[in-house]
Amino acid sequence: MKKESSYWVAIVHRISGIALALFLPLHFWALSTALEMDAFLAWTRQPAVLIAEWGIVVALAAHFAGGLRVLALEFLPWHERQKTLAAAAAAVTLAVGLALALAL
């Protein structure tokens, strides 16, 4: 069934939100164990963990960009070219993902 771009941005927005909601308690718990931080940080150098970290940051970027799109649609004056917001959201997410990949 053909789906428009707004649908995919919305689905990514939802899935990334769920992922972040699941991840955050772990993130907070990990930060609380700051006393053993060096050992913990050493563990995070593993490739699997790095990939997961990258995934979480991309999820955050995707959710952030999708959220800006929702706020724009709901509060700013309406224009016909609203679908370009979906494209803009995707572009921002990709940019952040690449930036992080390069940094890592």
């Binding site: 939802r14 939100g17 769920i18 972040l20 909601a21 955050l24 308690p25 993130h27 907070f28 718990w29 990990a30 930060l31 609380s32 164990t33 700051a34 006393l35 931080m37 060096d38 940080l41 940051v57 955050l60 970027a61 952030f64 959220g67 800006l68 929702v70 706020l71 709901e74 952040v96 930036a99 992080l100 940094a103 890592l104």
Partner: protein, 112 residues
């Protein structure tokens, strides 16, 4: 839920979304910058310990997330899990409390 309460939830979610937009932009930039060249505990804690600006910033971040995430999940629970009624709201309120508690605990662990 009454129209009044539904509307208040929606307002809370959009308001915290606006706050989080700022927090996330700062957080993402910080993470990408900090990750370059590796991280040590000393480097992180050197920046955060006793830094009241960071304490204030991350406290706002934690509280905003504790409001925003559960309200977002509320729609997902209804639409994808068919979960409605008081039990859904109670579960989400508990999740909000858990996020706030774990989050503030993390903030204080890193700042004191």
């Amino acid at each position: 839920m009454t129209p009044r309460l539904e509307t208040l939830l929606w307002i809370a979610q959009r308001a915290t979304a606006a706050v989080l937009a700022l927090c996330v932009a700062v957080h993402l930039a910080t993470i990408i910058y900090a990750v370059q060249g590796g991280l040590t505990a000393a480097e992180i804690l050197g920046r955060t310990r006793g830094n009241h600006a960071w304490l204030a910033f991350y406290s706002v971040f934690v509280i905003a997330v504790s409001v925003h995430a559960p309200i977002g999940l509320r729609a997902v629970f209804l639409e994808w899990l068919r979960w409605r009624g008081a039990s859904r709201d109670v579960a989400l309120a508990l999740f909000a409390a858990a996020l706030a508690w774990l989050g503030m605990r993390a903030v204080f662990a890193v700042f004191t």
